[in-house]
């Protein structure tokens, strides 16, 4: 469950996010779309604790990200838009590290890492250095790292960047499974057709403000679908 209540953030007088409120229920996949510089990444960064809101409140499974950051982060999985990793670690070492700092038990981590590597098709390269991975393979690894501790909330910023058709399909299936397990997913993306397929609700953000929220069925009935809505609201 994600609750964002009246959150604002500005940088040197520029309002990146203004009075943003949203609730994403358990098992819901919520898509956040909007033009470049609309405030999608800033919103997600505030939800992860990388940026602190100037005002407002963010609750992840009832834990305030500002007041109880450790508790909030322990239920959170995060996939950033630009995922810089530790280049000199192998994939498995990186996963061991991420699991350990999320307090995952050794036995739990081992089986979970194996299963995630199999799902994302990177098992064969688990002892390779990260520096040798292509962009798409890195993105798969970042997803593994975001899911290794069984998060209750998943925040994804531009999930499809660099992924091939196999990766996109796998990701869609995984999001579906996570939704059935009751995980709240919030994804910010420019891939409108994928957002239209995967998300239960889609919010449109412009100038740091959430200007509309529509149900999937509602959008399908609109002229031009999500792309048409984007063109109308994005102007």
């Amino acid at each position: 469950m994600i609750i964002i209540d009246g959150v604002s953030k500005s940088f040197n007088g520029f309002h990146a996010v203004k009075d943003f409120s949203l609730a994403v229920g358990p098992g819901e996949i919520f898509g956040l779309v909007g033009p470049n510089g609309a405030g999608k990444t800033t919103t997600i960064k505030m939800m992860t604790g990388l940026l602190s809101p100037d005002k407002g409140k963010i609750l992840l499974v009832n834990h305030d990200i500002v007041r109880e950051p450790t508790k909030a982060k322990s239920v959170l999985g995060y996939v950033p838009d630009k995922a810089f990793l530790y280049e000199k670690l192998t994939l498995k070492e990186f996963m061991f590290f991420v699991s350990a700092i999320h307090n995952v038990s050794r036995s739990g981590a081992l089986s979970r890492i194996e299963s995630l590597f199999d799902t994302f098709g990177i098992r064969d390269m688990e002892d390779e250095l990260i520096e040798g991975l292509s962009r798409g393979l890195r993105q798969r690894l970042v997803f593994c790292a975001a899911l290794v501790h069984d998060p209750k909330v998943l925040l994804i910023d531009e999930p499809f960047t660099g992924l091939d058709a196999f990766g996109v399909r796998t990701l869609g299936e995984i999001m579906g499974r996570l939704s059935l397990k009751g995980v709240s997913v919030l994804l910010a993306t420019h891939s409108l057709h994928l957002a239209e397929d995967l998300c239960h609700r889609i919010g449109f953000i412009r100038g740091g403000t959430l200007v509309s929220i529509n149900e999937k069925e509602e959008i399908k009935g609109m002229e031009g679908g999500l792309e048409g809505l984007f063109m109308r609201l994005g102007r």
Binding site: K45, T48, G49, L50, L51, S52, P69, T70, K71, A72, K73, S74, L76, Y78, P80, K82, A83, F84, L85, Y86, K88, L89, T90, K92, E93, F96, F97, V98, S99, A100, I101, H102, N103, R106, A109, L110, E126, D127, E128, L129, E131, G132, A145
Partner: protein, 544 residues
């Protein structure tokens, strides 16, 4: 096409000359100018000392020139190989250049020019005062300056040709990055061998200047196959106003043409294939054993250790520290302790303090490089830490341990070995070891804490973080801490030892000494605790 590339490089250089940039570089410019003058006046002084002894002095001055040019030639060669590896194979513009409709020959020309220029400008700049000093000492004609400039340019081209050929051949066999780090290590090793060879061949004390001169003449500098020798042989007649030897001039011209040709052939044959095979290399890692799964409390620590040893960019600094420690210990070994003890009764104690101060300098320099940079070492992957349920207190403590353990080990070994060489025992031994340990804790805490206060997550090379404003602030505070700790400790010990030597030490007299020790403990505790506390707070509120 080559002139187009050259123009772009010149534009980049011109754009980098700003008033702000100049002001930032001003300390280095002044330092360089000081070193230039020091070399000039130093060479003049040595020459005036050597040349008063007539023919014998002339032989010595020739030997000195030959020795300098041999050293410069070796430096140029190693420097060109290292620069060529970076320039031809590791430079960021290589993919850009290779993706354009540019002939390989043009890329080779541009990179050759870049390699030779970058590898030789420092050598040229700092050999110049030696040439000028020789010219001034011999009242050489203008011809000498023209010949010395030309022959030195030819020496640069010979070393450049050899270096570029070696770089292409090395990259054919080893990965470029590995070759570069290996050569940096080799360069340092050669310096150490050279340093210890000269030190061990000179007696520790000279009965007379003649004894020194006699030892100096024993150095063999004649090496007819060595380009440095050809330059010496070309310069010697010119310095006295005679025509330079045609044989050696021919060797210099022929040699430079030959080696530039071999570099060109090696480049044309190997460059494209070498560039294609550049990439991450397999370095013998097997599958990761399951037992290596870290406990949450030490996950960051073990991750840092792994990354540190795999990052070959860190290795040259380890080599440099190793070389410094070796030279440091060797100098203490050759200290005339007995003579000093005869001159001053507290000589040993003074040396212990000097030793501790030197160890403090080493500690500060290492802490600046490895502890101050430890938080920044996360780089742009810091989001992994910040979005994880990891306490930032635990994170910073991991960083402290990562630097504290090796630094304390090095400083303890350094102080213990030098104490042993100085034959230190009794209370001063305990005091010295205790102070070294105390400073290791406080300076490490200061480094880790201030590193968190002034983090820099975006950089080309982690070493650049250790020379920024934050690092300078750390260095100044750490050096102040070392100085105050040692001064207070020295005062306490001197007061105690002087009373003992005077015949008695009363319990009442121990109060100021105890207060002094308490003061030392308090400032060291503050130097550890406060920056760590502020650092944790800064990390908590940081916007990433």
């Amino acid at each position: 096409m080559f002139s187009l590339f050259l123009r772009q490089k010149i534009l980049m250089l011109r754009n980098s000359f700003t008033l702000g940039g100049l002001m930032r570089r001003l300390p280095f410019i002044l330092l360089g100018a000081g070193l230039w003058l020091l070399l000039y006046f130093g060479t003049c002084r040595v020459l005036s000392f050597l040349r008063v002894t007539g023919t014998f002095g002339e032989i010595l001055s020739e030997k000195l020139l030959s020795l300098v040019l041999s050293g410069v030639a070796v430096f140029l060669l190693i420097s060109t190989v290292i620069t060529s590896l970076s320039s031809f194979y590791l430079s960021r513009d290589i993919p850009f250049l290779r993706a354009r409709p540019v002939e390989t020959g043009d890329i080779l020309k541009l990179k050759s020019f870049e390699s030779v220029l970058l590898s030789s400008w420092t050598a040229a700049l700092f050999t110049m005062p030696v040439f000028v000093a020789y010219g001034a000492s011999y009242r050489a004609p203008a011809l000498y300056y023209a010949v010395s400039s030309l022959s030195f340019l030819l020496l640069i081209l010979i070393a450049g040709g050899m270096g570029m050929t070696a770089a292409h051949l090395l990259t054919r066999v080893f990965p470029a990055k590995r070759s570069r780090e290996f050569l940096l290590g080799l360069g340092l090793l050669l310096f150490l061998v050279f340093y210890f060879a000269i030190k061990s061949s000179l007696p520790e004390g000279y009965a007379s200047p003649q004894e020194f001169l006699k030892t100096f003449t024993l150095f063999k500098t004649d090496a007819p196959l060595f380009p440095g020798y050809w330059v010496t042989k070309t310069l010697l007649p010119a310095i006295k106003g005679r025509t330079p030897d045609v044989l050696y001039m021919t060797l210099l011209f022929g040699g430079s043409a030959l080696f530039l040709f071999t570099a060109d052939v090696a480049g044309r044959r190997l460059y494209c294939r070498n560039v294609e095979k550049i990439g991450p290399s397999w370095d013998g890692r097997g599958p990761l054993p399951e037992r290596s799964y870290p406990r949450p409390g030490v996950a960051v620590f073990f991750k840092d250790i792994r990354v540190f040893f795999r990052d070959t960019g860190q290795w040259p600094q380890i080599f440099i520290i190793g070389a410094l420690v070796a030279v440091y210990i060797y100098n203490f070994k050759s200290m005339p302790l007995r003579a000093l003890m005869g001159l001053y009764p507290f000589a040993k104690e003074v040396l212990v303090i000097v030793n501790l101060f030197m160890a403090g300098l080493v500690l500060t320099a290492m802490a600046a490089r490895f502890l101050f940079t430890s938080v920044s070492f996360e780089g742009r992957a810091f989001w992994v830490i910040r979005s994880a349920p990891l306490s930032l207190r635990r994170f910073l403590w991991s960083k402290f341990l990562y630097g504290f353990v090796p630094l304390t080990a090095i400083v303890t070994v350094l102080v213990s070995v030098t104490n042993y060489l100085l034959k230190v025992d009794g209370p001063i031994l305990l005091l010295s070891e205790g102070t070294a340990l105390l400073l290791s804790v406080s300076v490490s805490g200061l480094g880790a804490g201030l590193g968190a206060v002034f983090p820099k997550f975006e950089y080309e090379n982690i070493a650049s973080v250790a020379v920024g404003m934050g690092a300078m602030t750390f260095m100044l505070i750490a050096l102040g801490l070392v100085t105050v700790t040692l001064s207070a400790g020295a005062w306490g010990y001197y007061t105690y030892a002087a009373k003992i030597r005077a015949g008695g030490f009363h319990t009442a007299e121990s109060i100021p000494i105890a207060l002094c020790l308490l003061f030392v403990l308090l400032i060291n505790a503050a130097a550890f605790y406060l920056p760590m506390r502020v650092g944790i707070k800064k990390l908590r509120t940081m916007q990433f």
